[in-house]
Amino acid sequence: MDLAYYPGCTLKTRAKNFETSALAAMSALGINLVELPRWNCCGTVYSLAEDDLIHHVAAVRNLIRVKEQGKNKVVTLCAFCYNTLKRANLVMKDSPDKRYAINIFMDEEPDYYGEVETAHLLQVLRDDVGWEKIAGRVKHPLKDLKIVGYYGCTLLRPQSVAIDSVERPTILQDLLKALGGTAVDFPFATECCGAFQIVNNRDIITERTAAILGSAAKSGAEALAVSCPLCEYNLRQTQSSTKQPQSGVPVMPALYFTQLMALAFGLDLAVCGFEENSPETRAWLKNKGLIS
């Protein structure tokens, strides 16, 4: 099965390991993620200003690119791209006035009415593939691996775009269980990591991610499964900047859920790109007997 795939900028720069592992894991499940031949930045952050329609143009343009391919569904990996595209699509679907203004403004493009369904890869795994099929593909179960699913904000908020229960999501844990691992619940699963505050206020990131990592460690987890490159980046940065033992922040790898899939499926480790994760990741995986 072929699915239209929108990568977004980060997956081509700082989160290449997310993309390579996802493409390989999905093709192991018989699904080809076919990258759009032409795409641009999603707009990164969905603008909440009522009259700031220009910020939605980038996202809508991408959705039109999907339609041009004769597809009515597009898959994203990056949680931020998912959020921005999905919300822009809702505007085009449900707000006739804004849709009209945006369509008029983009006079070089065909009119768009929100026809393209925007899905996150986790939804595809749950709804189109199914946990059973995924479990059936597992070669090296992630047994004895206690992992928390860390969702962050953009997969679940606002409720209109949430891929799962806003307050107690289970989709990541369900995937981890299908991969043979032990999914651990923890109260910070949907807390914000601080997001773009990394640019101008690192202290916020340090405080937020320290709390997230601390809570995960207290719950007995050894690693986090993530789906957002920005969460991954922030969690990794904090760990490298607070490695002093007195800080008390546990060192804990944050892995993309697709990396865990590739591991469990027994794929070529090159697709996982573990060298881009935190430096301790490889040692931990070796220690756990998952890589040699």
Binding site: Q159, S165, E167, R168, P187, K218
Partner: protein, 574 residues
């Protein structure tokens, strides 16, 4: 049939400016006076007032009116008034009809006087046409069994049963559980007096058990109900056996439940997160912990405790959009009892607003709020979770705008009050309605608050809406007084404006049977015709509209009348 000569009077009410401010009442009177059959028309400021009624009497007597149109408010308000006026001067009350020119004319057309006036005239003309063919009717007399059924042995059912029994009538009280008292028996104390519910409830239960007029069925449920006001037949299931009773009226008081915890995913399943009723049992001196407040997980005395109000109430996203009305006060009571029992304890209350709107409630709340070791935090809780042997509660103080993390030993959730799962089923058996939340629906929220829309069936207590104990008692006594007033009559009268079958025309096809909400129609298998039980018929007209051969007709809403009304409505106004 020779057409009798009609002498029709039209009385147009101003209703202050409610009608006269929009409808030109003088023009209406002038024009309707010229309408065929109308021999008298006048308008007056308030036709329902004593002088207004006197004007009607005078005109009926002096002009020898044979029929009367009252153009005013909805018939649900004053139809009875004006029909009584007619009867008082010897005119058959069913020769009086209401033309609703307020709710259906002046109110919706406030800004268009011309349209409103024309429409008022059209409404009156159609009513005149209907009236020409109105029959003179007399109410039906139906039998009245002066014995009541009370469903539910909680505090509402107990009150209703005792009120009726003390009025001298027999009561059958059906309770699902093995004992009487319901949720109130689970309470440690009651607000705002801190009186033990056992002090006032146990004597009431004893009174019920010993009352010569009350027959008690414990461990029992209502299995099926048939019949109508005055003579219901009820089948009561007591474990495996079924008992039948004949009764004349029913008080329904099945009570409430708390919202299931799993509806609120932000509160995990944890032994130290309890609901309000569980905490009542912990507070209760004669239960479990003998008055010592201990937390369930390890029996330690909780030094920090968080009470969370509106857990599921006023929260359409997870729970219920309505206010459960009792939680503010019982939480305040629990806080006070906790602080009295745990001298160094700290209580936090997370609240949205405080609702303390009854006698002594605000004073009680103020006393609790200003008690030391009590902190009220205004904001919604976002999450509670376990952290070692403590619980963490994330909330916000909206008065200072700060997010808070409270570390506590125990959490008490004031879960929303909801309708019991069985209430819908019971309502279906009784043929009464429930609202979207499963609460029993009253006939009119202001004017008929304890009546269902099925006559002879009354509502009491928290199955109707969240209520505290005083309100529950008041509603139960009100329902009992409705039963007593019903039983105080010699005989029962029923509106004669029911459906009836022309047996010559009816083919017994039976399409009218399922459309009847009141289950008033059956098919006589021998004669192959439909039969209307007029005591059950509420005159809604569904069967008459459905009947393909027009064999089913509604008295004083016949097809001929409707066609005559349509004729004149089309000609004059549209």
């Amino acid at each position: 049939m020779a057409k009798r000569e009609e002498r029709i009077g039209v009385f147009v009410c101003h209703c202050g400016l409610n009608i006269a401010g929009t409808v030109d009442v003088q023009r209406v009177v002038d024009e309707i006076k010229r309408y065929p059959g109308v021999v008298h028309a006048e308008h007056y400021m308030y036709m329902c007032s004593d002088p207004g009624q006197e004007l009607m009497r005078k005109a009926i007597r002096e002009k020898g009116l044979t029929a009367v149109v009252n153009a005013n408010c909805s018939p649900s308000l004053h139809e009875r008034t004006f029909r009584r006026v007619c009867a008082s001067v010897g005119l058959n009350p069913y020769r009086c009809e209401i033309a609703n020119i307020r709710e259906q004319c002046s109110w919706p057309h406030t800004y268009d006087k011309e349209t409103a006036t024309k429409k008022a005239l059209a409404i009156i003309k159609t009513t005149v046409e209907r009236l020409r063919l109105n029959m003179m009717l007399t109410p039906l007399v139906i039998p009245l069994i002066k014995r009541a059924l009370v469903i539910g042995g909680g505090i509402a059912g107990i009150q209703a049963a005792l009120d009726i029994a003390n009025g001298g009538y027999q009561v059958i009280l059906v309770e699902k559980e093995a004992s009487l008292g319901g949720h109130v028996m689970e309470l440690s104390a009651t607000f705002p007096t801190l009186e033990s519910p056992k002090d006032f409830l146990i004597p009431r239960i004893d009174e019920v058990m010993a009352h010569p007029n009350i027959r008690l069925y414990l461990n029992s449920e209502v299995d099926a109900v048939s019949g109508y006001v005055g003579s219901f037949n009820v089948k009561i299931r007591q474990k495996t056996k079924i008992v039948e009773e004949e009764i004349g009226a029913i008080v329904t008081a099945p009570g409430f439940d708390l919202l299931p915890r799993e509806k609120l995913p932000v509160y995990p399943d944890d032994p130290d997160i309890v609901d309000g009723l569980q905490f009542e049992r912990i507070l209760s001196p004669e239960r479990l912990t003998y008055g010592k407040i201990k937390r369930p997980s390890d029996g330690r005395v909780p030094q920090d405790i968080v009470f969370i109000q509106c857990a599921g109430s006023r929260d359409p996203e997870h729970g219920m959009p309505y206010c459960s009305r009792v939680c503010c006060m019982y939480t305040a009571k629990q806080v006070l009892l906790y602080r009295k029992a745990v001298l160094e304890g700290q209580a936090y209350v997370c609240y949205m607003d405080i609702r303390s709107d009854a006698k002594g409630y605000e004073e009680f709340f103020q006393q609790v709020m200003s008690h030391d070791g009590v902190l009220y935090v205004r904001g919604n809780v976002s999450r509670a979770f376990r952290d070692g042997d403590k619980l963490k509660i994330w909330t916000v103080d909206t008065l200072s705008g700060k997010s808070l993390e409270i570390t506590a030993d125990m959490v008490v959730l004031a879960l929303a009050m909801v309708s019991r799962p069985g209430t819908r089923e019971l309502a279906r058996k009784l043929n009464i309605s429930v609202n979207e939340h499963g609460f029993l629906t009253e006939a009119h929220i202001k004017l008929r608050p304890v009546e269902s829309l099925t006559s002879g069936i009354f509502l009491a207590g928290t199955a109707q809406w969240p209520r505290d104990i005083p309100d529950t008692i008041a509603s139960a006594s009100a329902a009992a007084s409705k039963v007593l007033s019903l039983f105080s009559r010699k005989e029962l009268l029923h509106e004669p404006t029911t459906a009836h079958v022309d047996e010559e025309v009816c083919s017994g096809c039976g399409v009218c049977v399922p459309v009847c909400t009141y289950k008033a129609i059956s098919i006589d298998e021998n004669k192959k015709v439909a039969v209307v039980n007029e005591a059950l018929c509420e005159g809604c007209g569904s069967c008459a509209a459905t009947c393909p051969s027009k064999a089913m007709q509604h008295r004083n809403w016949s097809h001929r009348q409707l066609l005559a009304m349509i004729d004149v409505a089309g000609g004059g106004y549209v």
